[in-house]
Amino acid sequence: MNKTKYQPVIGLEVHVELKTKSKMFCGCSAQYFGKEPNTHVCPVCLGLPGALPVPNNKAMEWCVMIGLALNCKIPLVSKFDRKNYFYPDLPKGYQISQYDEPIARNGSLKLKIKNEKLKNNLEKTIRIRRVHLEEDTAKLIHQFGNQKSKIKNQKYEEFSLIDFNRSGVPLVEIVSEPDFESALEVVEYLKKLQQIVRYLDVSNADMEKGEMRLEPNISLREISNVKFQIINYKVEVKNINSFRFVEKAIDYELKRQEELLKREETPVQETRGWDENKQKTISQRSKEEAHDYRYFPEPDIPPVHWTGNQISNIKNQIEELPSEKLERFKKEYGLNDYDAEILTRDKTTADYFEEAVKIGAGHMIAPKQIANVVINKKIDISSTLPAHLITQIASSKQTATLSDEALEKIITQIVDENPKAVEDYKKGKSNALMFLVGQVIRKYPKKIDAGGLRERMEKMLQ
């Protein structure tokens, strides 16, 4: 056993399904989820003889939009290519994709990585190699078999069922450079990406529904030799179809590779699949069988030439992105990082908050106070109108003001009765304050705003 230390080198391919009305190359509805099998199909997406593809212009614009949001360059010329391989979920025997002239390239995405030891956030930039457009495959259901049937050399007399409703749904592939050094970074990146495409309103990006899929390629390199070492293998991991599996699958794979390397073995270059039941990755395809996709320009689709004008029009359609919104919330509403981050996590919450702030201004309610309520009280924003929320805040404030004297009395009483908790709080145990707040709320006969109370007690105990 050697004692070399290794550093993970991880690159990501993420597929995002666009939520266009129609499919990428035909007029079938792209809203296939939960529909009867093979009812959203036509000669084009079934790959019938003679059928021809015609690209969906919205999908192309949205792909440009994603590229722009990821700080990519949009080359003015782009084209589609055929990627040839055989699999029952690929009706034409080739996937229409993009090879050497993708819609977008050379972008980046900034992440904030929590550092547990240093208790702070580190900023890290992940470089994005390319963003391109392609078509989704059909859905295979291994009805009578199980995952085992996929393993090499095992020929089962089993059957798969194929539903072509998903075949031809527009898919954007986002390929990163191998800039990730931990599973945590991958998770942060995915969350960020998901947030961006949802902000752009071009994809629901729900991993559990298969609207966002990732394929990490994972290797390790010696830490002592980072600069000069050539990594001579790469393991691609498939089948990670939930946010919950991302960290587990990557960490498992890193550990597996490290053990091999420590025994001075080079991991095999291959594709492995994450098996959630077994909690491990399992070999699916090794190098000698690696596919030769025989890419060539798609003769059925003329090339794409954007004008600078078209690109700037698309750019203008992009509304404020999450990172910009976060900065603005901090500046404009005086929120801290934590609150601003939560409020801008999705656009609906952010819009809700801003609407409430607007109404709240008329009631002399500060944005910070609204933020507290929205975050701490876990307001169901789908059922509580912003105006209603403001009324609630206003009345709770009133209640508290009206009974100020009574409240004062109760607080003093609780503080007197719990000298230990007060001492703990002064030593830095924030739990102790929550305990005291809880005691006051219990004693106080009316409804009271916990956030306001907490602030008040904080001040008092300083």
Binding site: T39, H40, F159, S160, I162, Q284, R285, P302
Partner: protein
């Protein structure tokens, strides 16, 4: 020009008999020898022509049109089950 017929057949998803492999190897080699002619042409400054129309940006609006019925979709399939196409699982992905 020698070509690895077995490898190519595998890529092309064709199963060839031994005698076919031999025959094709000979025929394909002679065709490839013939097309070598192109090496005589200086194309160092020539752009490729993958399409001849000169068209660009041909797209359609994002609008749906009616799909086939499930019955039509499955009408030519030899194996089907409950509205699905059915296929033996012997390939690995």
């Amino acid at each position: 020009m020698k070509i690895n017929v077995s490898h190519i057949a595998k890529l092309a998803n064709l199963s060839l008999k031994e005698e076919e492999k031999e025959k094709f190897e000979k025929q394909l080699s002679s065709i490839l020898d013939y097309v070598k002619k192109l090496e005589e042409v200086d194309t160092s400054k020539v752009e490729p022509t993958p399409q001849v129309t000169g068209l660009k940006n041909i797209t359609r609006e994002d609008q749906t049109i009616p799909s086939l019925s499930q019955e039509e979709a499955l009408s030519n399939a030899k194996n089907k089950h409950n509205g699905f196409f059915k296929v033996k699982t012997i390939l690995e992905k």
